[in-house]
């Protein structure tokens, strides 16, 4: 089976927050919950980079390990999902997750943590695929429709990649080969065109024009 992964290409992300907006809109995420967020490092300094981050759908997911009611499960596609009927909103997954993916709506009478909400890789939840119930609790199930997560589909610069890990890594590998390890370490990408042409590497090359 496929193993679904996200990858955010830092050389391409322009911090437009289009992925965040797409996610919120597609999944009708409640207020105060951001399944995906864009973090900018060294904002306004040399070497500024932005990364779009959400649940990374870990192979050995810390959230699933620490959950006191064992509400997490991994689908055949390698997507980590959880059952909101079982979740008690204790917040342990939030402590364990390195990426800050689990989010809690402040609801219930005490504004204590409500049911946990996180990125589902647009794969819904344990309910019947694309049922109204699933839509209400977990948002859209695009995977069942044969589509990929909307955040990645909407990404204007194709920085955010989502899909089978093998395909994602192939795409990324090609990009890296084309531009060199990093635009910053190698200067601007087209300056390396000569280098690429000399090695017969495919890509934009001023020499070939």
């Amino acid at each position: 089976m496929a193993r679904m992964k996200f990858y955010c290409d830092v050389e391409r992300c322009i911090e437009c927050n289009g992925c965040v907006t797409a996610c919120k809109n597609e999944n009708e995420v409640p207020w105060g919950v951001n399944r995906r967020r864009v973090v900018t490092i060294k904002d306004g300094e040399p070497g500024e980079r932005s990364l779009s981050v959400a649940c990374m759908h870990c192979s050995d997911a810390p959230c699933a390990a620490v959950c006191p009611v064992d509400c997490f499960y991994t689908t055949d596609d390698g997507v980590v999902l959880h059952d909101k009927d079982i979740c008690i909103g204790c917040g342990y997954c939030f402590y364990a997750c390195p990426f800050g993916a689990p989010q809690f709506p402040e609801d219930g009478a005490f504004a204590s943590r409500g049911k946990m909400d996180k990125c589902t890789f647009c794969a819904g939840g344990p309910e019947q695929d694309n049922s109204a119930e699933e839509q209400r609790k977990y948002g859209s199930n695009r995977l069942a429709e044969g589509k990929l997560p909307l955040c990645a589909e909407m990404c204007a610069t194709k920085a955010l990649l989502a899909g089978d890990a093998n395909i994602i890594s192939t795409i990324y590998r090609t990009r890296v080969v084309n531009r060199g390890a990093s635009v910053l370490s190698r200067g601007v990408s087209y300056q390396n065109a000569e280098l690429r042409a000399a090695r017969g590497v495919k890509g934009k090359s001023s020499l070939n024009d």
């Binding site: 009927d85 008690i88 909103g89 219930g108 009478a109 005490f110 504004a111 204590s112 409500g114 049911k115």
Partner: protein, 213 residues
């Protein structure tokens, strides 16, 4: 099946019993009436009644010093419970849906927390006092314990159901609340209504006699 019973018929039976029971109890008390006092009045009876109903909210000095703990715990419990009962969001939603049809202002979440903590602390303290103090222990009857335990269980299940996402927990809370409603008119819990009558009666007779009570 049981859930439907608790949510439907039993709720109507319980609230009906509560309403009719309270009306019947109040009616039977008021029907007894007051013995005719032929002495010339030395003061205004009705005014005394109204005054005493409110003045007794503040206990007299010896009561304050001797029963400081019951006073504090008593106010904590009653005020907390009142706030929880009528101004907690789930209760307002429930009452609005089933009875009044309109909502009113609800407590913010921190207000809810404080009210329930206060109510629990007060109730447990009063309960322990009843059990541990030799005099109140002798004075207490089964009725007092049943009332206390029922109120405590209703509050406890309410707090266990706070996540508002598990139907059985809500039904358990509702079921115990219904038991409480049925039990209410036939027990000491009627003091929630009769305290006005007893204070008013005392105030009126005393004021008529010209006694500052």
């Amino acid at each position: 099946m049981i859930g439907e019973l608790i949510d439907g018929p039993l709720w109507y039976i319980a609230s009906g019993t509560f309403l009719l029971g309270v009306v019947w109890r109040l009616f039977s008390i008021l029907r007894v009436g007051v013995a005719q006092d032929f002495a010339p009045p030395k003061g205004n009876g009705p005014a005394g009644a109204v005054r005493t109903v409110f003045s007794r909210f503040l206990p007299r000095h010896p009561v304050v010093t001797r029963g400081r703990l019951q006073l504090i715990a008593g106010y904590m419990f009653h005020l907390g419970l009142f706030a929880l009962l009528f101004f907690a969001r789930p209760h307002v939603d429930f009452i609005a849906e089933r009875i009044t049809g309109t909502e009113w202002a609800v407590l913010p979440h921190w207000g809810f927390i404080i009210a329930s903590e206060i109510a629990f602390a007060g109730l447990i303290m009063l309960w322990l006092h009843r059990l541990l103090h030799p005099v109140t222990r002798l004075l207490s009857s089964a009725d007092d314990y049943i009332g206390t335990v029922l109120v405590f269980l209703v509050m406890l299940t309410g707090c266990l159901a706070l996540a508002q996402s598990f139907e059985p927990l809500r039904l358990l809370h509702l079921f115990l609340a219904e038991l409480l409603l049925i039990y209410f008119p036939f027990s000491n819990l009627m003091h929630a209504f009769t305290f006005i009558i007893s204070r008013g009666y005392t105030g009126a007779t005393m004021a008529r006699k010209g006694v500052n009570a």
